[in-house]
Symmetry: D2
Subunit: 135 residues, 4 copies
């Protein structure tokens, strides 16, 4: 079985979309991941603020990495996100994913997304955990 960091970097290396987003992996521990990205102009929506799909994607990547870091391959089945305020071009978002619970087949994680000290989104996600070990 790979270590949490080995799993997350292996996932990231093969994850074209997280790389397109410019996601940086800031910290990995068992069940906990911190990521960041800088908001670029191609990420804006019709109101010239960050498209909700980008803050979701950042949170979703953090959630996927954190839930897989436990050693078994896990896929997202249900997620929700509150968008708490607008985000502008040039802001740097940081996502903190942590485990709320994890059993044999189901795991639940929470991700908070910050810009500086300001909470911009709150996310919760559920994964289905397979029997396939990361190796």
């Amino acid at each position: 079985m790979l270590s949490p960091s080995e799993i997350v970097f292996k996932m990231y290396d093969n994850d074209a979309y997280s790389r397109w987003l410019g996601i940086v992996i800031d910290k990995v521990e068992l069940g906990t991941v911190e990521l960041s990205l800088e908001v670029r102009s191609e990420m804006l929506n019709g109101f010239q603020v960050l498209h909700g799909g980008i803050s979701y994607a950042l949170a979703d990547s953090a959630f996927a990495f954190a839930s897989n870091s436990l050693g078994y391959q896990a896929v997202s089945i249900e997620t929700s996100i509150s968008h708490l305020r607008k985000v502008e071009k040039g802001e740097v978002l940081r996502a903190y994913a942590q485990k709320l619970s994890s059993g044999r087949s189901i795991g639940v994680y929470e991700v908070q997304v910050y810009s500086g000290q300001s909470l911009v989104a709150s996310f919760r996600g559920t994964v289905a955990i397979s029997k396939r070990i990361w190796d």
Copy 2:
């Protein structure tokens, strides 16, 4: 006040991220929008299937367009999505957004995302509706 189609095309023209996604606007009626996109290799995650952030973004754009089509500027505040099955490169996703309810300040929409006849994601979103008219 602009028509539903005028609002949606105006939003889309200024929406760099929906354009990066390659979203096509297939239909616009008052409170109802249909969009599609083709899954490209830069949209895949570490499992070589579609990143959840892309199906979310498609649904979220459909939701934003449908809720703004009523004539008042509206912003997403809370959304949830169930990912019902994996999506592969080359599949064409179609998102159908429709209004569940809309009052003076709050609107709720549902978006179903299909690949062919197969439902791949179910999304629900809530918008805060402003007093600013689209013109």
Copy 3:
């Protein structure tokens, strides 16, 4: 293995809280359940309208019955509900649960709650499906 109706009536017979709610089972088919209840004064909240916990409970029972009707014991792991309008004492609520998808270990259902022709709540839920057969 019991039939869908046998499963739902067996669950209901042992379900003290659904009986306290006064839930009536109006229809059972494989993966689909319709329930109703009449709003009583002990179900109201501090605004003298229906407490959100009651419309949730009605939807949650419909979801539980529909997901178990497939023959395997299943438990709710994640649910969300939009409250679309106030409900008053004396209104009769009807909940329609239907399957969106169901695999070996995960099922997703949608429940719409109506009062007359008016949609009062929209609910989506995810179950973990066990290997235990209803018999």
Copy 4:
């Protein structure tokens, strides 16, 4: 304008369902509320464990009290809850509601529900805030 405690006790006094649940108000501060209840036999479902509608109702009352404690009347529009483990008769549940963000018209709160040291449910809710002051 009433104080946070005055608002919450006024709401509770008129809230027949929270009183049926046997909810106890353990703490009230601006935007923060702690409640508890003991699981009784009439709260169990067909599996003889706590019906999800009860843990939801406890969280929803904590959310309603916390969001109204800011001084303006607020109603729940969208909520989600993860059920993390089974709860049995006799357990005492404690709900901790706190504000994630609150603007002029929209507020978002998180509620964690514990039994002893064990997290049994995680809830997030959105309210629409009116102009009506609690007095």
